[in-house]
Amino acid sequence: MMRLPRFRYLAPTKLSEAAAILADLGTQASVLAGGTDLFPNMKRRQQTPATVLGLRRIASLRERSGDPRSGMTLGALTRLSEIEHDSAIAAAFPALQHAAASVATPPLRNMGTLGGNLCLDTRCSYYDQGPEWRAAIGYCMKKDGEVCWVAPGSPRCWAVTSTDTAPVLCALGAEVTLVSAAGERRIPVTDLFADDGIHHLTRKPDEILSAVHVPAPSGRSTYVKLRRRESFDFPVLGIAASARLRDDGAVEDVRIFVGGTGSRPLEAREAAQWLAGRKLADEDVLREAAELVAHVARPLQNTDFSMSWRKQAAREFALRALRNLLA
């Protein structure tokens, strides 16, 4: 069987203690929430931290405050299955509930956390492999090698953001709190991500993502996920949208984010600008907007499905997402 490498395990009970440990160890340590991403990666030797810092004993990270209707704060350790089964969240933020419910499988959602899902490592079919497999291709830029096999001439890594909740939280205008020994900062979720397959988070090595703040819903939201199967799979395309409509059905404000194609959730700004003031009920308007959303999705040959098909499917799935805002 696949064995974990050796590591030291620390499990403080206070966030400040955890922050102090990270201040000391920095990149030598990995932060552990549900473990559904970190442990498989460690088994494949993609990450071999000397120390694993477990957060599970820190009760404050499970706390929740506020109310979905007026804005809420979810502790980073909130399990995905809690979000999935929360009727108040489902009513206020159907997109968030749907995104959480579409992650992996029920047992993994019982372990996986919201904070962990946001910090999910980027994925790539050349990278998410065992050490011998990676040795057989001469490794890649993201781990132990120099080339990005997805785009061999490229100076950067093109591993793909594969979190379902991130595009939704971006579209909802959510924020996260990052805590370190030096203090804490609160940033928009959109600023948590960087467009690079290796350095995909702006979280500093000494910071712990402690909470997610979701503002009061300001309209409708939706999340459409493309994948091979009805469960289990990571998104190869995830389109999240949140919109405020005027009484006449015209769009007052819309935010659209695309996950599963680039190294970070990408905002479809041109589509949003096109839709502003226009009516979603107009099929021509929708088609043009879907085209602009698909423009943002630039799939590469490093996930399931062929690149060209995903590009074609993006238009159709964008259309479906936008139609959902009407329903």
Binding site: M1, S125, W133, W149, P152, S231, F305
Partner: protein
């Protein structure tokens, strides 16, 4: 009475009783190979090749050996004797000797006190390779004869090419009303059994080398281990515990089993190896990717005058069952619909990929896919309903086919009629509107291969019974319970004949030291062969009890049932079964009986006639309903109706389970599964790697993707089966992929002539001018001169006119019934 003609009510047969191993499975009591552990056990890891094709220049294990906890390092030099499942393909070494042939080929074994230490130590072994040209596809193998992946085989990188002519097919096509030619491709896929292979080997104080291993074929592992290790077979014991699925993936003797045994001999300690999922992808032996060309001529009524099949198989790096697989891509084309003349060409090539072998349906799902889609197209050209065409052209009961296969009972027509009725075919086919469609297909499969893997005249299966004076009966058999329910079949058959409760039969199986040989759980043979042996053994036990029961009646009147032995005319006159055993034991001494089974001789005697014959053939028909999204090409299977000719269902719940499992596996193959490889840009890398060696990224259906399945069992008792039973483990997979393809055509009028039928291919077909996706050429293959075998109705005797007579056995003319 056990030939299926018995009309009396049964004691336990046909009843949906809980299977004998059910509680063990659901409570976790069942011990699979990986659950075995021993005191002082060492752990083994294999270092596998990271290059696709190379000569091994040097192996330096100094650093690994120096690591604390490492007990032994083994290399190819420790295994000079080759092995392989077929006598004609002894081409594997337990660890690579001088060459590696694919990424994943095992090169070095490290044995250590902990699995993690063994794993870390493998990374300290330095192997230097001298790369050789990589051969990635059959087309490349045909084009590049040198370097040869193996030094044996027909020529260059062709492992095996065969050519058989049953009558003059070109003449038949020339006289046909309509000739249709099609090209098909069936992608390779793997078994994906949930249980990963594990083995524990130890040299016992009794001097026996014992290996507890996940194998469907303990007998063949027994032979391979004795051969490679050079120890007498009498000192080797193979234990095959129940398995979490095999599907053909555990039917070869495997390198890791043999290496573990050698390591146990060297270290004097038990040695365990548990493969990772990635390693299981490298063991493979799965479905061969097959490119096909079919050409068929029919007369005005649609009768097939001549049928020609050419297949090109991507064999991967070793022989495995490949020679048999090659013949199987042609052998069963004739057993469903009447075919007057038949021409077959099959070629298997070596490539630098994990070896292909037998997966559920072994070599037959690929040409079955081609044939059933091909017929759909022919019917459309003829303006015939494809369901009715199949009914009209079904092979008749008792036929001898063009390629000399004797088919006895045939439930094909009732199967077709059942799915036509259940699916509302007549009102719904071609009438569901754009985006929704129905497709039909039918198929047939063996109930056990007629010949063993190595030539011998001994039984294919034996059962030994021990009757205890407590009334309990123990049944011993070498058969391997791989999850299919063979233990249950054994217990139920013995209980039925002896009239006792199923729990009163204890089964001891899968242990070469404790039961008579059964050749293994492959070719859908166990219910038929072990079952017939069990019935024979139980009949013999029954005769002893009849004779000794002392009821004072003629033996014909002695009845067995409800745990009693009694007078059929006066049931009050009787004794308990235990009492009967005691009386028999008093009279004869300890009561033990044996039974064994050998399939009937096949009528054909040409070279190649050994692949295809079977005591009987099961039949299946399926209708599939799909919804196709034209914007994306995404196909959703809405429902499957499937009817299976089971002969007699010994336990209908188990039969349905096998049918549904087959549908599940077939839909995976039809829609998404691919044993696909990635070749990196050659100027940057020599890599040729499995694209998705993981459960997550090798896509097969999850439960939410599984449609509703309506299963219909057709019972038409088969005289060669125990109480009339036929197989169900493999056959029901066969009609499903072509039925999906035919349904997609009904929905959106495009042909996807290959599997898997992915959204990419459907969309490409929709946007193409030909409204088709699939191969359009077949490479030039240097076929050997064909063997000329006249069909039975053209004066043949089952031999080839242009080869020396292989055996003198003139066919009995009475056997010749034209389909």
């Amino acid at each position: 009475m056990a030939d299926g003609t018995d009309l009396r009510p049964f004691n336990v047969l046909g009843k949906p009783l809980r299977r004998v191993d059910a509680f063990g499975k659901v409570t976790g009591d069942t011990r699979f190979a990986d659950d075995f552990a021993m005191p002082g056990m060492l752990h083994m890891k294999l270092l596998r090749s990271t290059v696709p094709h190379a000569r091994i220049v040097s192996i330096d294990a100094t650093k690994a050996l120096a690591m604390e906890g490492v007990r032994a390092v083994l290399t190819g030099k420790d295994f000079p004797v080759p092995f392989g499942i077929l006598p004609v393909s002894q081409d594997e070494h337990a660890l690579c000797l001088d060459k590696v042939r694919f990424v994943g080929d095992p090169v070095v074994a490290v044995v250590a006190t902990e699995e993690l230490i063994a794993e870390e130590a493998t990374r300290l072994v330095e192997v230097r390779y001298e790369p050789l040209t990589t051969i990635a596809s059959p087309e490349e193998a045909l084009r590049v004869p040198e370097p040869r992946i193996h030094e044996y085989g027909d020529t260059g990188n062709i492992h095996k090419a065969v050519a058989l002519d049953f009558g003059d097919v070109p003449a038949a096509l020339a006289s046909a009303h309509l000739v249709t030619e099609d090209y098909f491709f069936y992608q390779g896929n793997t078994h994906l059994a949930l249980e990963q292979h594990a083995a524990l080997a130890y040299l016992g104080t009794d001097g026996r080398m014992t290996i507890v291993t996940s194998t469907q074929t303990p007998h063949y592992v027994h032979r391979a281990v004795a051969k490679v290790l050079g120890i007498p077979a009498s000192r080797v014991r193979i234990i095959a515990p129940p398995q979490g699925g095999g599907f053909g993936g555990k039917t070869d003797p495997f390198n890791h089993e043999i290496v573990a045994a050698k390591a146990a001999a060297i270290t004097g300690r038990p040695v365990k190896i548990a493969l990772t999922r990635e390693e299981v992808f490298y063991c493979h032996r799965g479905r061969h990717p097959v490119l096909m060309r079919m050409r068929t001529g029919v007369d005005r009524e649609g009768r097939i005058l001549g049928h020609s099949v050419e297949t090109l198989l991507d064999g991967g790096a070793y022989g495995s069952y490949g020679v048999a697989s090659t013949f199987y891509t042609g052998a069963l084309e004739t057993v469903t619909y009447r075919i007057d003349r038949y021409r077959f060409r099959g070629c298997r090539t070596f490539t630098n990929k994990p070896p292909c072998g037998p997966k559920r349906g072994h070599g037959t799902p690929q040409p079955r896919f081609g044939l059933e889609v091909h017929i759909d197209k022919i019917c459309e050209k003829l303006g015939r309903d494809p369901a009715q065409w199949r009914i009209d052209n079904a092979v008749a009961q008792g036929s001898l086919t063009a390629n000399w296969l004797k088919v006895r009972t045939i439930g094909l027509v009732p199967c077709l009629e059942a799915v036509v009725r259940a699916s509302g075919w007549k009102d719904r086919f071609r009438k569901l509107g754009r985006g929704r469609g129905l497709g039909i297909a039918a198929s047939s499969y063996l109930c056990g291969a007629g010949l063993p893997i190595y030539w011998n005249d001994m039984p294919h299966s034996g059962v030994q019974l021990l009757l205890d004076r407590s009334g309990s009966v123990t049944a011993f058999c070498g058969a391997a319970e791989v999850g299919q329910g063979s233990d249950n079949v054994l217990a139920v058959l013995v209980a039925e004949v002896l009239g006792i409760d199923v729990p009163d039969v204890k089964v001891v199986t899968g242990d070469t030291a404790l039961g008579p040989v059964d050749l293994g759980s492959y070719s859908s043979r166990v219910t038929v062969m072990m079952g017939n042996a069990a019935v024979e053994a139980a009949q013999r036990a029954r005769e002893r009890l009849e004779e000794a029961c002392g009821l004072g009646i003629p033996v014909e009147r002695v009845a067995f049932g409800g745990g009693r032995v009694f007078d059929a005319s006066d049931p009050s006159n009787g004794i308990s079964f235990a009492e009967a055993v005691q009386r028999a034991e008093s009279k004869f001494g300890t009561i033990g009986t044996v039974g064994s089974y050998r399939p009937p001789k096949a009528p054909g005697s040409y070279k190649g006639a050994g692949v295809g014959p079977s005591p009987s053939y099961s039949y299946t028909a399926a209708v599939v309903e799909v919804a196709v999204d034209e914007a994306t090409g995404i196909v959703r299977v809405e429902k499957v109706w499937i009817a299976h000719d089971i002969g007699r269902a010994l336990n209908p719940v188990l039969v349905r389970g096998q049918v549904e499992g087959s549908v599940y596996m077939a839909l995976g193959e039809a829609l998404m599964e691919e044993q696909a490889f990635r070749r990196l840009p050659p100027r940057l890398s020599g890599a040729l790697v499995h694209q998705t060696p993981s459960m997550l990224e090798y896509k097969s259906l999850a439960s939410l993707d599984m449609p509703a399945v309506e299963t219909i069992l057709i019972e038409n008792p088969e005289p060669n089966g125990p109480f009339g039973a036929k197989e169900v483990g493999q056959g029901p997979l066969l009609p499903v992929p072509p039925a999906v393809a035919n349904a997609v055509y009904d929905a959106v009028r495009v042909r996807v002539d290959e599997v898997p039928i992915t959204p990419e291919k459907v969309l490409a077909a929709l946007r193409s001018s030909a409204k088709r996706y699939g191969p359009s050429k077949f490479p030039v293959v240097p076929w050997p001169d064909p063997l000329i075998v006249a069909p039975p109705w053209e004066g043949g005797d089952g031999s080839a006119s242009n080869e020396p007579k292989r055996r003198e056995r003139p066919v009995r003319r009475a056997e010749v019934v034209k389909p």
